[in-house]
Amino acid sequence: MSPEYVAEQPLSLRVIAAALDGAFRFGPVSVREEALTVYDTFDGRLAAAGLAVAVTGPEAIPARARALAGRRALLELATVTVRTETVSLWDDLDKTVLRLELISAPGLTPRVRLHGLRGYEAERALIFELLALTEAPLSLTDEAILAAGGRPGGVRAKVRVSLNPGERSDAAVAAICLALWEVVDANLPGTLADTDAEFLHDLRVCVRKTRSVLKELPGVWEPGERARWREEFRWLQQITGESRDLDVALEDLDALAGLLEDETDRRALAPLATVIARRRAAARRIMVRELRGGRARALGPAWTAALTGLPERSEADRPDGATPIGRLAADRILAVARQMVKLGRAIGPDSAPEEYHTLRKHGKELRYLLELFGLELGEREQIAPLLDALKDLQEVLGRHQDREIQAHTLRGMAEEIAALPGGAQALIALGRLLGALAADGADARGEFAAAFGAFAAKPQQAALRTALGR
């Protein structure tokens, strides 16, 4: 898409003609007017891919956009009536030297697109100058989204707050937690309305990151305050947990069935979907009631007030409040990384599941610390490879554990499945599925040594120390 340009004064054909001052004449003008709706996912997947979709209606959304959206719902972010006037600019021989599109919509800044012609670059430059054009700071679609109260680019769970290594730790922590809370809050309506499952997922990711910050950097808080907020966020995580697990169960159903080789077995699993859907509906009812309740509604205002006031509070009980965040975060990151290396080295083929589980929990903490603090404070290019190795390791560890959780969830549904029509066959298929799950989980354990080796490699860990300046 060619760039959009604006001028100091609002552009119109009259303004343009006056500015051209007889140097170029207008050829015939064609006018098109359409009511366009801007679509994107809540997290702005289309915008991120450089694909702004402003179309006449849902049926006109391109297949590529639908594919990019994946499981996320495409939301109507804004509707605008766009008027496009296309005019050829002619030289003294009535030869077209440039085609100009003037794009306007009520309440938005009018803008032009220029389609130059080969061999008429000098004329284009002159027209550019006569109209005193500058690149539009916001695209028309972004302006429309903003005017409709939305956020151009969408709301992403991957928050980035730029940090200065010398700034006070409490101020840095407050800034990050406020950004995380914004995402939690923004995802709440979609979670309540069940617009798609990713609202709840993104909400929970940011709650988990908030809990990590509270856990890993204790010294910026007074102990009583910190305990209070840790309890509040533990509770928020807990009341949303079952709904999320059942969202995942539903999404994974096809993949799980794929573990079964026999087509009849796969079809016999149908009652499973019924049971999961039923349980999911029940879990959601409880979650929605809690999220609409007094405790949840009080949380946001109290938390944001606590965060904004944090740097001003007495430092008597907060030994790290004024510590430079560069130092505090680096020390914590390196400590967790060391701890992981130690734990991982102790793991062998015969280790109990709890040991893998503990390692995974540390891995999660490290990942959040690196994403929220490490990448902002240290050398990005040096940290990124370690982060990738860590993600691979987490994937291996996660598969192992997720399979166990899945098996546990499925076993818990056996009775309910048995009571449904086709229940007996479903149970037989379920038995086979549990067997297949155990085998798949064992595979993941086999991959552990390699994934851990890549993460714990000496040069990798040394690079982390260098990157963080320790």
Binding site: L93, K95, T96, R118, G119
Partner: protein, 250 residues
């Protein structure tokens, strides 16, 4: 690789420029990236696309490749159709060519850098036998020869037959131009020529038409301002016939 098609006839005023302009327009309309190089100092094709007849550094700079050929090209008002203009300096193109060791290979050299930019390149030639036309024979894959059925001289015919028979030269196709089918002479000449085996006559003939004449007023191809006219239809048929034949290797 671009296919190079030259409209050529030793005689003047037979419809070379009209054919080049209208066929190039159709080639671009059909989706091909198309260039028309106006080789005639009279700059008739350049005029018909409303483009100023001006070549920076003149034909000399172009032939000696002192200016990049792409920088001399102008887009016409029609999508995918570009023009390499002529100007008065083209009068001396022969002289510029003559200073090279292999003058007849020169135009092909000038076009070389454009091979990947265009699917079809039309050359609109001036009427004459000169170093320029010989250079055109070397650069072109196809010579397209308009023939007015009334005025075919034996000299023209001999030259055409020789060109068509030359090994390694361009493929030669001819078509009837400015045909007035009500004239018995036209019908006789056409029948006679169709029977000559050295020359491939294309089936489509361009009728004598006021719409073709009006191109000078409109400064546009007939297909652009009178798409339903018989002349526009005839150029469509000619283009269709030529394309079909080019699809089959010689």
């Amino acid at each position: 690789m671009a296919t190079v098609i030259a409209t050529y006839n030793i005689k003047g005023g037979v419809g070379k420029t009209s054919a080049a302009v209208n066929l190039a327009y159709l080639a671009a309309r059909d989706g091909g990236r198309t260039l028309l190089w106006d080789l005639d100092p009279q700059a008739a094709s350049t005029y018909l696309f409303r483009i100023r007849p001006r070549v920076r550094g003149g034909s000399d700079a172009l032939i000696r490749r002192r200016t990049p050929v792409l920088a001399q090209i102008k887009a016409t008002d029609h999508d995918r159709l570009d023009l390499l203009p002529a100007d008065f300096s083209y009068r001396h193109m022969d002289l510029a060519l003559d200073s090279f060791k292999h003058p007849t290979r020169r135009l092909a050299k000038v076009l070389e850098p454009l091979a990947e930019d265009y699917d079809t390149i039309f050359l609109d030639c001036p009427p004459s036998i000169s170093l320029v036309s010989e250079s055109v024979f070397d650069a072109a894959d196809v010579l397209l020869v308009p023939i007015i059925p009334a005025t075919l001289s034996s000299r023209t015919f001999d030259q055409l037959a020789e060109l068509a028979g030359a090994a390694g030269g361009p493929r030669v196709f001819a078509f009837f131009s400015m045909v007035e089918t009500h004239k018995a002479l036209h019908r006789r000449v056409m029948a006679r020529l169709r029977g000559v085996h050295q020359l491939t006559m294309l089936g489509a003939a361009i009728p004598a038409s006021e719409d073709v004449e009006a191109m000078g007023e409109e400064r546009d191809p007939v297909g652009a301002f009178a798409p339903a006219s018989s002349a526009a239809m005839a150029y469509e048929a000619l283009w269709w016939d030529l394309r079909r034949r080019l699809a089959v290797p010689a």
